[in-house]
Subunit: 232 residues, 2 copies
Amino acid sequence: MTQAASNLRIDRPPQTLREMALERMRSAIIAGYFKSGERLVERSLCDQLGVSRSVVREVIRYLEAEGLVESQHNKGPTVASLSWEQARQIYRIRLQLERDAAAACAEVADAATKAELERALKALEKAFAVGQTMGLFDATTRFYEVIFRSAGHDIAWEIVQRLNSRISRLRGLTLATKDRHVSGHARMAQICQAILDNDPEAAAQSVEEHLTEAAAIARRLLQAESDAEEER
Amino acid sequence: MTQAASNLRIDRPPQTLREMALERMRSAIIAGYFKSGERLVERSLCDQLGVSRSVVREVIRYLEAEGLVESQHNKGPTVASLSWEQARQIYRIRLQLERDAAAACAEVADAATKAELERALKALEKAFAVGQTMGLFDATTRFYEVIFRSAGHDIAWEIVQRLNSRISRLRGLTLATKDRHVSGHARMAQICQAILDNDPEAAAQSVEEHLTEAAAIARRLLQAESDAEEER
DNA sequence: TGTGGTATGTTGGTATACCGTCTGACGGAA
DNA sequence: TTCCGTCAGACGGTATACCAACATACCACA
């Protein structure tokens, strides 16, 4: 009966225009369709998204709260830009939260979790092989999601995702780096192994190394970019 | 001249109606003026705030992103309610971030920072003596702000503040507890001392004790409340 | 070249209207 | 009395028109 009932259920898309517009805008910013610092003109967004100004404005408010968009009085919203200082802080916060999550996950991981984690790692390997940045992005996200979710750290996961979207540009650059292809994968495998062994200490340690490395690469890239900017 | 120029400057409140409405709504929720789970009817909020529906809706979107308000499709926004599970997670995240901030602060604290911290602690003592919950609230916030800011953890501070606003009801209950008056103050002093000594380890340790204690009290209160609910 | 005025575009904010959904009240049937 | 269907009103979701304040770019004039 329960089964029948759940099959009978009419699940209309419980999605509002606003939610769809939000998704689009968010991924557009993350994907770099809107450049950092670019102005977001309400009316032109209305045209591009095909929705009314009310919707656009509400979406912008939401993204503003997420830190993806900045608004100045009477100047309108712009895509948030990221200084190295901010990026540094974000990597540090991620370190705290991911370390804790990995340790917690390693503590409680059961067979099902481990299987799922291995699947995620397999997918990650495949994505590394293909080399498509977007695919890597998703696979990495998936891998961490398993860790956070199984550790019961949903709220922390949400925070980390939000932080990640703020440094998405950096993450893209980082993932595209050659050496990252090798070491990144090795680090992930290391984290995975530690969890499979139910070894919280090792898991925390691996996460720490992984993130420290990522931050260092990000810093180098950002530095190089700003140097190039100055030369110009 | 620079002085004169800066004095001449007309600094009009760069505040929009929306921002003011946002502040009001946020503090109304934190102060408990709107109960947890209560529906927020847009049109009645318009009357109460004296602004138009657009503004109200944008504010609600913002609060939704902050996690203070929840919306269901075609049901409208409600004040977010908090389960113990969520509260647990929030305390855990705070632990990670506050511990790191305190340690970082202890590492870099100079004379000026220390002086400011001591001032904050003095204010805290006074607030404890007065016993006004709201004053305690502000003083505690101020104390932690000094720590986070001087450690250069602005983003983490923003996150912590947001988390705190989500557990504001719990914090209110916790602060009102009798034993908290004593031990809370002792803990704060301990944290402060560790920073004055530039001892990161001790600072982290003190924060950990303080927060673990707070979480335990919160849990007890929440449990008692839900028990009382069931009896009813 | 610099100054001041002007035109244009954009935002912040408001009012209003319309539709679809939800909810609760009312009234009739079993 | 209880159950159930219907219906009206409340409310959210969306669209649109309008206005004032402001910012910016441009232009003409000294």
